[in-house]
């Protein structure tokens, strides 16, 4: 195919050419960034928690009235006993929080009490000997807590655990040589010892601010005995989660009715917890998806419209070419190549625009840098789109009969 006559023809249609190229450039810039945002959010929302999510549900238990630490400690132990004896329950534990809850207690760990900067941030989960089994965590080194290690902690008491269990990620961060087990660390100013390491346990918040210590979590042998209440985490026997949820609620109120479990958010399956935690990420991905599809559709419509117009304008010339011996393939090829040229021009400008837009998003919204793979995907997508959109008008052009050359209008 000869490029020169096409370029010559395009020079006669500067405005139309420029408009299509510009539209392709803008579409490329936005679609690349949108695809990239979708990919980032989807990766983010499919990160594993490290727990056995399918059978787990959580209970937010709030107390009614005034209680001493001792009363609450006894009450919580009775609650745990009651829940564990429900036939459909595999195990249950009490904690201050759980992964993906959104917030909770995060603190800094120091290796030396005189340090100013923390060695690492960490999420703190209150635990008892049943926690590892309830969450379905894998203990990869050391030991579990024992029942007599678990101490009651009131609202403003200091956290002084004798021992802690850390995640592998946290252990590797604090002791890169792999010697974490048995080592002393300083948590909230108090010395404690690492007695066990679990494979994986996600932090409470999946927001950006908490990403610096993602997967660095720690279990303390403590029971949070405060009047504001706390959480019970229950693992049902496989496939019996729904029965277990009903039975556990009944068991708790039978144990002691002076408590509040909110009707809406008091009991959540872990699927619900996950859905709430990633609400915005999922929404953003859906929005970007809709925008990308709409944009591509509109750009395609624009190409169809403008090319149809050109074909209509050039019917006579096409007729002349056909009369002079050009085949249908030649005419089809002419319009396809023309579109390829315009699209390529738009893509070059669009690639530049995509990078600029991404840089702007990076500085304004702390997004990551666009990977070139997305640019490539966008480029291929738009080339195909351009060729697809031009196909119908080009086919119509190729059907122009040579007789048209003889008509006066």
């Amino acid at each position: 195919m000869q490029i020169k006559p096409i370029l010559a023809a395009l020079r006669r249609h500067k405005a139309g050419t420029f408009l299509i190229a510009m539209q392709i450039a803008l579409t490329l810039a936005i679609v690349c960034n949108a695809l990239f945002i979708i990919q980032q959010r989807v990766t983010h929302l499919s990160e594993p928690t490290g727990i056995d999510e399918a059978d787990i549900f959580t209970i937010q238990n709030e107390w009614v009235g005034k209680h001493t630490d001792v009363e609450l400690n006894a009450q919580m132990q009775a609650d745990l006993q009651a829940m564990r004896s429900v036939p459909s329950v595999a195990d249950a534990t009490a904690s201050n929080s759980f992964p993906l809850r959104g917030g909770g207690w995060d603190d800094g760990i120091k290796l030396d009490p005189a340090q100013v900067q923390d060695s690492s941030g960490t999420a703190i989960y209150f635990a008892d000997p049943n926690t590892i089994d309830t969450f379905g965590l894998k203990l990869i080194a050391g030991r579990n807590f024992t029942a007599d290690e678990v101490r009651s902690m009131g609202m403003r008491d200091n956290l002084k655990p004798a021992s802690v269990i850390v995640t592998r990620t946290l252990a590797d961060k604090l002791f890169p040589d792999g010697s974490a087990l048995g080592k002393p660390i300083y948590l909230a100013g108090e010395q404690t010892t690492i007695v066990g390491i679990v494979d994986m346990l996600q932090t409470q918040s999946v927001d950006r601010w908490a990403s610096s210590f993602r997967y660095r979590s720690l279990l303390v042998p403590a029971r949070l005995t405060i009047e504001l209440g706390g959480f019970y985490i229950v693992r049902a026997k496989p496939g019996q989660r729904d029965e277990a949820m009903k039975a556990v609620k009944q068991a708790l109120f039978a144990q002691n009715p002076r408590r509040v479990i909110d009707d809406e958010v008091g009991m959540l399956t872990f699927d619900q917890v996950r859905a709430i935690a990633y609400d915005r990420d999922r929404g953003m991905a859906i929005l970007m998806g809709i925008i990308s599809v709409a944009l591509l559709a509109i750009t395609a419509a624009g190409i169809v419209g403008l090319t149809s117009f050109w074909v209509g304008q050039r019917r006579k010339q096409i007729g002349v070419r056909r009369a002079l011996g050009a085949t249908r393939r030649d005419i089809l090829g002419y319009f396809m190549t023309e579109n390829l040229l315009i699209t390529s021009g738009g893509i070059i400008a669009g690639a530049l625009l995509a990078v600029i837009m991404n840089l702007w998003l990076v500085t304004r919204f702390e997004m990551s840098r666009l990977s070139l793979a997305y640019l490539l995907v966008g480029v291929i997508l738009l080339l195909l789109l351009g060729q697809g959109a031009v196909l119908a008008p080009a086919m119509r052009a190729s059907k122009v009969s040579p007789v048209e050359a003889t008509r006066s209008i």
Binding site: E62, G108, M155, A188, E227, L228, R280, M284, S308
Partner: protein
């Protein structure tokens, strides 16, 4: 003449239904996308208390020092020591500090299970400062504050639940183990974002249902339901009393300063207070205080969610692409009629006539696009919850001003898009077109 132009436009639009439909869809989708995201953006970036936003201030005192504060900024709330000093000094026209509480409402008459209500332990100034509207009664007085009285203000919603909406002023409410005399029932009070409590929430959570006096709650050693931020500093305390004396911040503070002079005076008082703390040895650093008004405070606390800004940016770029598309389609449409323009011009129509005719046609496309956009915007409003979360989506509403704006944006942007194609149409040389083609 205008009607004639409209008639010509309608006729021409009917001639290429596909092209016309493409243009209308393009504008409709573009306008709808921008309007939906704009409605959300408008909802979250509004000023929640415009009449007082310049006289309400958040005082901040750096009690953490340069080692532990965040990038030189004082913490976003006060500890107990500083909050009480501020309340005792009474240097502002009105002042309050508060913390969120969660209490069980226990029904004494019926067999209803206890339920939780959230609210604030605060001072009587809270209500006039934030212009809380009352259905019955009012807030409590300074005397009630000083006497540590067990009084309560409840919300309309709670009043409905407990008293079937009747005037409950003077009646009692049982909160956990205490009995409180109701002095006021608020009307619906739910400013968005909840500017006064950006320390404990993102500003879009459910409204408070109960308010009780601060001192009374402190006597009961009721703990905060909200945040307690220690910022890595050493002095956290190791029981309730030493926690109160410690440097953890958990109390939101506000002052009302009606004039610029008051503001300046308060700022220097704050600095003086910090200097005094430095002299007494509590602060080992130079005074570092802030006094931000409502607008500055919302900006500082990032009240507008980043999702909303990203979505608005993308939606506006989207509208631009739709317009570029419309320019192309209009150009195709107008230039196809070059012979017709040539005839009109040869018969004596001026360039202005051609402009009028084609802009009228474009205006019709814009209006149709606007109507389509309106339908899509209405439909899209149901989908905002997917992207921005339920709390924020609730705020975005399709009201009259948005309807008007949608139509105006659609017509105006189409006219702008039509300008170049129309100009090209007006440039058509009559002689050239009249020649046999």
């Amino acid at each position: 003449m205008f009607v004639h132009n409209l008639r010509l436009g309608a006729k021409s639009l009917r001639r290429n239904p596909v092209l016309t439909a493409l243009m209308i869809m393009s504008i409709g989708i573009g306008v709808a996308a921008s309007m939906i995201t704009y409605a959300v953006f408008r909802a979250v970036s509004g000023n929640p208390i415009p009449q007082k936003s310049s006289v309400l201030f958040v005082p901040q005192i750096d009690n953490w020092g340069p080692t532990y504060n965040r990038a030189g900024e004082p913490p976003p709330a006060l500890n107990y020591t500083d909050a009480m000093a501020l309340m005792k000094a009474k240097k502002a026209e009105r002042q309050t500090v508060f913390f969120p509480i969660s209490a069980s409402v226990i029904s004494t008459t019926t067999e209803r299970l206890p339920f939780k209500v959230r609210g604030y332990a605060t001072f009587g100034d809270f209500f006039p400062m934030f212009e809380v509207p009352f259905l019955y009664g009012s807030g409590w007085s300074h005397e009630s504050d000083d006497a540590h009285e067990a009084v309560a203000v409840i919300s309309k919603e709670l009043n409905k639940k407990l008293f079937d909406g009747a005037n409950s002023v003077g009646k009692d409410i049982q909160l956990d183990d205490g009995t409180y005399r109701i002095v006021g029932v608020t009307d619906t009070y739910d400013p968005k974002p909840r500017f006064f409590d950006m320390f404990n929430s993102d500003g879009y959570t459910d409204p408070a249902q109960v308010y009780v006096p601060f001192h009374h709650m402190m006597d009961l050693k009721v703990d905060t339901w909200g945040n307690n931020t220690c910022g890595g500093g050493p002095n956290r305390g190791n029981d309730y009393q030493s926690w109160l004396r410690g440097e953890c911040v958990w109390l939101a503070a506000w002052v009302e300063l009606p004039t610029k002079a008051d503001e300046d005076a308060y700022r220097s008082w704050l600095r003086g207070y910090a200097e005094e703390q430095q002299r007494s040895g509590r602060f080992g650093w130079a005074p570092n205080v802030r006094l931000r008004n409502v607008v500055d405070w919302l900006d500082y606390r990032h009240a507008v969610p980043p999702e909303s800004r990203i979505a608005l940016t993308i939606a506006v770029s989207f509208l631009i692409i739709c317009l570029v598309n419309t320019v192309g389609l209009l150009l195709a449409k107008f230039m196809r009629r070059a012979p017709e323009i040539g005839v009109r011009r040869a018969l004596g129509a001026s360039r202005a006539e051609i402009y009028k005719q084609f802009l009228a046609e474009a205006g019709m496309v814009g209006l149709s696009g606007g109507v389509l956009g309106l339908i899509l915007t209405g439909a899209g409003m149901f989908g905002t919850g997917l992207v921005f979360g339920k709390e924020i989506a609730k705020l975005a509403q399709l009201d009259f001003s948005l309807v008007l704006l949608t139509l105006v944006v659609a017509v105006l942007s189409t006219l702008i898009a039509a300008f170049y194609p129309t100009w090209r149409a007006a440039q058509v040389q009559p002689a050239w077109q009249l020649k046999s083609n």
